[in-house]
Symmetry: C2
Subunit: 332 residues, 2 copies
C-alpha cells in the first residue's frame, strides 16, 4: 500500500481493488461487504426508512470527532429521527489525489467503531479519486436504511399544547469546528457533540404516538429546525431562552466568533415535539442516558401567529426565522 | 434564484431551502421528496437490493449523456445487475461555489427524465456546497433501492459449460468521454452508451436461475469484470476476440488515444454468465430490445487454469487481467 492516494486508486482496476481489500475491508469487512459486488442484497421489511448525506466538513479532524465518526452518526441519526432503527449503511468515498493513506486509515477506523456502536453494517460502497485541487482531502457520502419503529411522525401530527424538547446543549459542534479552524483562538475544552442518537431515539420510542416529530438540528441549528417545523403548522412555537441549554464556554466562543449558538450546528442532539402531558416523562427518558443528561423542555406549541417561532427572553421576545445566508460553511 | 451557486446555498438555512424548493423539487418533486425530511419512509419487502455510487465524471456534459443521466443510470443499473428492480433513489449533490445554476438545471432535468424512464422516484437527498477550487463543478452521489427479482446471483453459481454474453458494443462511453476531453480530436459520431439496463435485465430475468451473474462493465471495462468473475471460480473464461462487439470508430479512436476498448468503461452495457444451453436464448432476449441489438455470446466457461481469462484472437491468445494503473481517470 502506498502512503498517499493516487489517481490509480480510482481506476476501477487492480489498484482500486487493492485499496478496498487492504484498507476498507480491513476495517469494515463483513459477510455482505466482503462480496465486493456493486450492490448488496439485504433483509428489509414492509417499509424502510431511507436517508443520505454527504460530508464535506473542514477540518477533517476536530475535537470530539472526525469526518468518519460524523458520516456514520449523521446518517444513522437521520434514520432514527424518522422513527427508524438503522441497520445498513452505504459508504462512498471521494478521495483527492495526494490524500495521506494514514489519515484515510484513521477515518475508516472511526467509521468502523461508530458503526459498531450504532449496530449498523456497511453493506455496499464506492471509491472515486479526483485530481489534486479538485477536492479537499476526502468527501464522504453515506446512505442509510432502517426499519421503522415509529411511523406516524411529521409536522402534520403537531397539536396545540404540545411541548418542545432538546436532548442537550446546543451549538457545541459549530463552535468546536470554528475554533478548530482558527488556530489563533484558544479552543479550551469545547468538543463537538458529534455522536449517535440511536439510544435517545429508543427512549422516545417508548412514548409511541405521543412523539409528533424528531429532528437533529445540524446545519442551520435549533432555530432553523424550529422555523421549519412551525412553518408547516398553524401554530406559534414559543421557546424560552433561559430553558435552552448552552454551555457557558460555547456561548463565549460564539460571542467572539460572532455566531448565535441557536443557529450553530449540533451533530449529536435531537429536538422533539411531544404531547404536552408527556413532556416531563420525555425529558426524564432522555436524561436516563448519559448523552441526554442535559435534556430540557424548552417550549410549547400554542395558538397564535400562523407558523412562527418566538423566543421569549428575560425582558422581551424575538421572532426566530430560518438561517439566512451562511453562518458556517462546510460544518458537516 | 441567482445565476451561480454560492456558499450560502450550502448553509442549511433559507438559501439551501430555496435552492431545493425552486430547483430540485421543480424537476424531481413527488409526494415523498416534497416532504423535505432528512429521511424518507418508503415501502419495501422481505429483502432489498441496495447500491451506491458517486459520480465525478469530467466533462459533465458529453456526447450521449451528462452527469445527471449517468448518476441515475449508474445506480439503477447496479441494482438491476444484482437482480433487483429499482424503485427509489437518493440524490446527494456536492456543488462547487460558482457553479452555473443553468447547468444545474440541465442536470436536474436529465435526472428527472432518466428517473422517469427507469421507473424510480428520488425520495431523499442532500445538498452541500464547497468553496471554489475544492471541487469541480458538481459531484453527485446516488444510492438506490430495489426489490429483488433474481436472488441467486453470484460467482458461486458459475458452472463449467456456462456462456458469457455482452449486451452491446464495448468501449463507447470511455472513447466518447476521452474524445470530449481532447477538443483537438475529431469526435465524429461516437456517443457514450450511457443508458438504462432496466429493460435488458427484465429480459434476462425470464431465464430465472439460468442466469448466474450479471454486471455492468463500467470502470475497468469488460476485461476487468471478466477477471473479477474468473478469480472467484476454479474455471477458465475463454473469450473470442472476434465475437466481442466493438464499433469500428471506437476501435480507431482507442488506437489513436492509446486505449484498449476491452478496458474502456461502458455505462449502458451488461455482461452476463448464463447456463450454456440457454446462451442463444439469452442473446435473442437481449436483441429483442433496441438497446441490446448488438448482443453477442462472447465466450465460455471451461475447465482449465484456475480463475483466469484468456482472449483467443485469430492467431494466438492472451491472458486478460484486471486493469492495472489508471486508464481513464474520472470516467464516471
Amino acid at each position: 500500500m502506498s502512503e498517499i492516494i493516487t489517481l490509480d486508486h480510482g481506476s476501477g482496476g487492480e489498484k482500486t481493488s487493492g485499496l478496498v481489500k487492504e484498507l476498507v475491508l480491513k476495517y469494515l469487512g463483513n459477510c455482505i461487504l466482503d462480496r465486493l459486488e456493486d450492490a448488496a442484497l439485504i433483509r428489509a421489511g414492509d417499509q424502510i426508512v431511507f436517508s443520505t448525506d454527504s460530508f464535506v466538513i473542514d477540518p477533517l479532524f476536530f475535537p470530539g470527532g472526525n469526518i468518519g465518526k460524523l458520516c456514520v452518526c449523521g446518517t444513522a441519526n437521520d434514520v432514527c429521527m424518522r422513527g427508524g432503527k438503522p441497520y445498513a449503511l452505504s459508504l462512498a468515498l471521494i478521495l483527492e489525489e495526494g490524500f495521506p493513506v494514514a489519515d484515510l486509515e484513521k477515518i475508516l477506523a472511526s467509521i468502523a467503531e461508530t458503526a459498531r456502536k450504532a449496530g449498523v453494517l456497511i453493506v455496499t460502497g464506492d471509491t472515486k479519486v479526483v485530481e489534486k485541487g479538485k477536492g479537499d482531502g476526502i468527501y464522504i457520502n453515506t446512505a442509510g436504511i432502517g426499519l421503522p419503529v415509529l411511523k406516524n411522525l411529521g409536522t402534520e401530527y403537531i397539536r396545540e399544547g404540545d411541548a418542545v424538547l432538546v436532548s442537550g446543549t446546543v451549538g457545541d459542534h459549530g463552535a468546536a469546528v470554528m475554533l478548530a479552524r482558527n488556530e489563533g483562538l484558544l479552543a479550551g475544552e469545547i468538543r463537538s457533540d458529534c455522536g449517535l442518537l440511536t439510544g435517545l431515539a429508543e427512549e422516545l420510542q417508548k412514548l409511541g404516538d405521543a412523539v409528533r416529530i424528531m429532528r437533529d438540528p445540524t446545519r442551520g441549528g435549533l432555530a432553523t429546525v424550529m422555523a421549519e417545523f412551525a412553518e408547516d403548522t398553524p401554530f406559534l412555537f414559543e421557546l424560552e431562552e433561559d430553558k435552552i441549554p448552552v454551555r457557558e464556554d460555547v456561548r463565549s466562543a460564539c460571542d467572539i466568533l460572532g455566531l448565535d449558538p441557536l443557529y450553530c450546528a449540533c451533530e449529536g442532539r435531537l429536538v422533539a415535539v411531544v404531547e404536552g402531558s408527556r413532556a416531563e416523562e420525555a425529558a426524564e427518558l432522555l436524561r436516563s442516558r448519559e448523552e441526554g443528561r442535559d435534556a430540557a423542555v424548552i417550549g410549547r406549541v400554542v395558538q397564535g401567529a400562523f407558523g412562527r417561532v418566538v423566543l421569549k427572553t428575560a425582558y422581551s421576545s424575538r421572532v426566530l426565522t430560518k438561517l439566512s445566508g451562511m453562518q458556517l460553511p462546510r460544518i458537516c
